[in-house]
């Protein structure tokens, strides 16, 4: 009898003291390695802070990061490893809509709590194609941290409308990122009474192009648009902006929405007056942003240039807080806390709320800022309440 009691006690103890493990899927190598490495750096910082603050359920939190190589086969095997070999109950990380689509069937099988950063293709507004929000948005165990594509577009277009321009030339890369995005943008901008005088596709350097956008830019210049709006990737920034200058195209505003901006670009002469959409800026004038940027710099020796780092940091903290508040790893209890709590992040307090379909959407269009390179500094110029400087015309 006594033996049994000890056994029971130690069993309870071992359950409550079991270390919480969170499985992370992230593209650490290959074409999307920049984002994957940024996520990893953000997770590492959050992990250090969480464990310094007492960990999760009284034990140090553990994260297991698996490389997806931004490849569906690899990601699927990595996810199933996390579920069946490492026996994690919580999944984090996440990037690339193609990879996400490939994981959905297995997500639905295992139904762990999945908090997913990337994969913005919602499918909302694309006829005949089911996107990620349409496929898993309603699942009670699915949480989505990064804004959906239509939320990105809404923010970008609200900025465009706020400039008061009369005409826009739209240049977009031709893959799953820029193609649908440009179609929606053209519609939304036209609805606001602004002329879209050109909507032209180019081949991004990320999807096999060699970075010559001169024909598209020449057409934009011939269209005499007031604002050039381009949708492409990080590695398109330098060729795009330098060729705009080279071809002597001088619209009032040059606005781009790549997922990130090359480090050091701030000091480049062609950066002057270029505006861009971004999820997080180290110069955001809030204490959270400064604390994050300082701690990140101290740990990694570089500024958090890629906002995926800030999102990863926010995601891991939300898990830690929710599990601690739930007092156990019980799925229903953790989901309840994820739904009701608000969490810290470099972008300020945030919580999960309703989007078009999903009741568990983290950051929405309000996350986005527009910055402008002004004299070697990234000034926030939109939205007004966060602005550090007014938007300046290029002319």
């Amino acid at each position: 009898m006594k033996k049994a009691a000890i056994l029971l006690a130690s069993l309870i103890l071992s359950i409550s003291l079991a270390q919480v493990k969170i499985g992370i899927l992230s593209p650490l190598t290959g074409g999307a390695a920049g984002t994957g490495q940024a996520q990893k750096a953000g997770f590492e910082l959050a992990l250090e802070e969480i464990n310094a603050a007492g960990g999760v359920l009284g034990e140090p939190l553990e994260i297991l990061i698996e490389d997806t190589q931004a490849n569906s086969d690899v990601a699927l095997a990595a996810f199933e490893k996390l579920m069946t070999e490492d026996e994690v109950e919580f999944i984090g990380g996440g990037f690339s809509s193609g990879v996400t689509l490939g994981l959905i069937e297995s997500f639905k099988t295992f139904q762990p709590v999945v908090s997913w950063i990337g994969g913005a293709v919602s499918g909302v507004g694309i006829d005949g194609f089911d996107g990620i929000e349409e496929l898993v948005g309603e699942e009670p165990w699915f949480f989505h941290v990064h804004p959906w594509d239509y939320q990105n577009t809404a923010a970008a277009n609200a900025f465009v409308a706020s400039t008061g321009v009369g005409s826009v030339a739209l240049l977009h890369e031709d893959s799953a990122f820029g193609g649908p995005g440009a179609a929606t943008s053209e519609r939304v901008i036209e609805e606001q009474g602004i002329d879209v005088v050109l909507n032209e596709a180019f081949k991004s350097t990320l999807t096999g192009g060699t970075g010559d956008f001169r024909a598209a830019i020449s057409k934009a210049a011939a269209s005499n648009a007031d604002l050039l709006y381009w949708i492409g990737y990080d590695s398109d920034v330098v060729p795009m902006t330098s060729q705009i200058r080279e071809l002597n195209f001088t619209p009032n505003y040059i606005f781009g929405t790549p997922p990130g901006w090359p480090s050091d670009y701030t000091e480049a002469p062609e950066a002057e007056c270029v505006a861009g959409l971004i999820g997080f800026l180290p110069s955001l004038p809030t204490p959270e942003a400064k604390a994050f940027a300082d701690a990140y710099e101290a740990m990694h020796g570089a500024a958090p240039d890629n906002y995926a780092a800030a999102l990863a940091y926010a995601q891991l903290w939300s898990y830690a807080d929710a599990i601690n508040a739930a007092g156990s790893t019980d799925q229903a209890a953790v989901i309840e806390q994820l739904e009701s709590l608000s969490f810290k992040s470099p972008m300020g307090e945030w919580s999960f709320g309703q989007s078009e379909i999903s009741p568990h959407q983290g950051f929405g269009s309000e996350m986005w800022l527009v910055f402008q390179y002004q004299n070697g500094v990234r000034e926030i110029v939109w939205p007004e309440d966060k602005a550090t400087a007014p938007l300046a015309s290029c002319n």
Binding site: T29, I65, D67, N71, S72, D73, V74, L76, A77, E80, K81, M83, T84, E85, E87, G98, L101, G102, I104, E105, S106, T109, F110, Q111, V121, I126, D127, G128, F129, D130, G131, D174, S175, A176, G178, G179, P180, T207, G208
Partner: protein, 332 residues
């Protein structure tokens, strides 16, 4: 005689493969799901490698295998999206579209050899990818792609099974399908090896002019090899589309597929049936081992393995096995 023995061995392998999922489950419990997932990827690589090797036996170095893969995947995806026919009809359709593509590409590139052939086939694959992307999106999904229904969706019965057991059933079904395709490809390869085709192929590879003098109609054999090589890859693309749940131009027509199709048989041993399979198993296990051992930069180790392998086993794993057997025989 040799063919018969090989077929008997193959039948044994088929029996083993059939029971492999259950054996894994018996020994490893839920981890069998993860191992099956890895085995599916390795089997898929083996199919790709062996198919590529069949064409390589004529000396033609194809860089178009991503196109055959993509043709199979897309024809299935379009069929499934546009009609209500059985999902399984997509597989023969995929084979057919890969074969038609091979006939088209093969017949116009007959005069090309070596790197000229390689670059022509690469260019063809790149153009096809762009064409698919520019097709009306109501037909081919444009840049976003097309969703593809899974072939297997085992139902969860609450109280009678655990969640991971559904994943096991799904992976088991897919594994058996991939393994079946691999076995069929092996049979195809063995039939070629044991028939007069193998002499014709290697004659063309060694010296096309001499082969012509000996009465080998090079053009016809090269075309045949092209068609036989494309068929399994087309079906593979279709199965993969079902398993991954979607197709899109950038992911489905990935040059990486082409490169793996070429690298794997060299690593395993060219112009054999066993070599490409050993190559696939070898490369997949090495990559997974390195991945689990080193958290950072594990692909550096992968590259080093490739470099060392070619320096120390220039004829691949098969060459190594042959010289080991020879040494053993001599020591007896």
């Amino acid at each position: 005689m040799k063919l018969r023995m090989n077929l008997v061995l193959l039948a044994l392998a088929a029996v083993l493969l059939f029971f492999l999922p259950d054996l894994l489950k018996l020994f490893f419990d839920k981890a069998s799901v993860s191992y099956l997932s890895l085995l599916i990827n390795a089997t898929s690589l083996a199919i790709l490698a062996l198919s590529w090797d069949i064409l390589a036996r004529t000396g033609q170095l194809s860089l178009a295998h991503a196109a055959f893969f993509g043709a199979g995947a897309y024809s299935t995806a379009i069929l499934v999206k546009q009609t209500d026919v059985s999902l399984w009809l997509g597989l023969p359709l995929a084979a057919l579209s890969a074969v038609l593509l091979a006939l088209l590409l093969g017949s116009v590139t007959l005069q090309l050899r070596g790197i000229y052939f390689a670059i022509a086939t690469l260019s063809f694959a790149e153009v096809l990818k762009a064409v698919i992307q520019k097709l009306p999106s109501s037909l081919a999904g444009g840049a976003a792609g097309i969703n593809v229904e899974p072939l297997f969706r085992p139902q969860f019965i609450a109280g009678e099974m655990e969640r991971w057991e559904i994943a096991f059933l799904r992976n088991e079904s897919y594994f058996l399908l991939y393994a079946g395709l691999l076995l069929a490809t092996i049979v195809l390869s063995l039939l070629i090896e044991s028939s007069s085709l193998s002499y014709a192929f290697s004659a063309i590879r060694t010296n096309e002019e001499v082969a012509a003098v000996m009465g080998v109609k090079a053009a016809r054999f090269k075309l045949l090899a092209f068609v036989l090589s494309s068929m399994p890859v087309g079906i593979l693309g279709a199965i993969q589309a079902h398993r991954i749940g979607s197709v899109s131009p950038d992911e489905t027509f990935n040059v990486g597929t082409t490169v793996l199709a070429l690298v794997t048989p060299i690593f395993g041993g060219l112009y054999t049936s066993l070599g490409p399979i050993l190559g696939a198993l070898g490369l997949a296990s090495i990559e997974e081992f390195l991945r689990r051992t080193f958290s950072e930069g594990y692909l550096i180790g992968y590259g080093i393995v490739l470099v060392l392998s070619i320096l120390f086993m220039p004829k691949g794993i098969m060459g190594l096995l042959r010289s080991l057997r020879k040494a053993q025989r001599e020591s007896l």
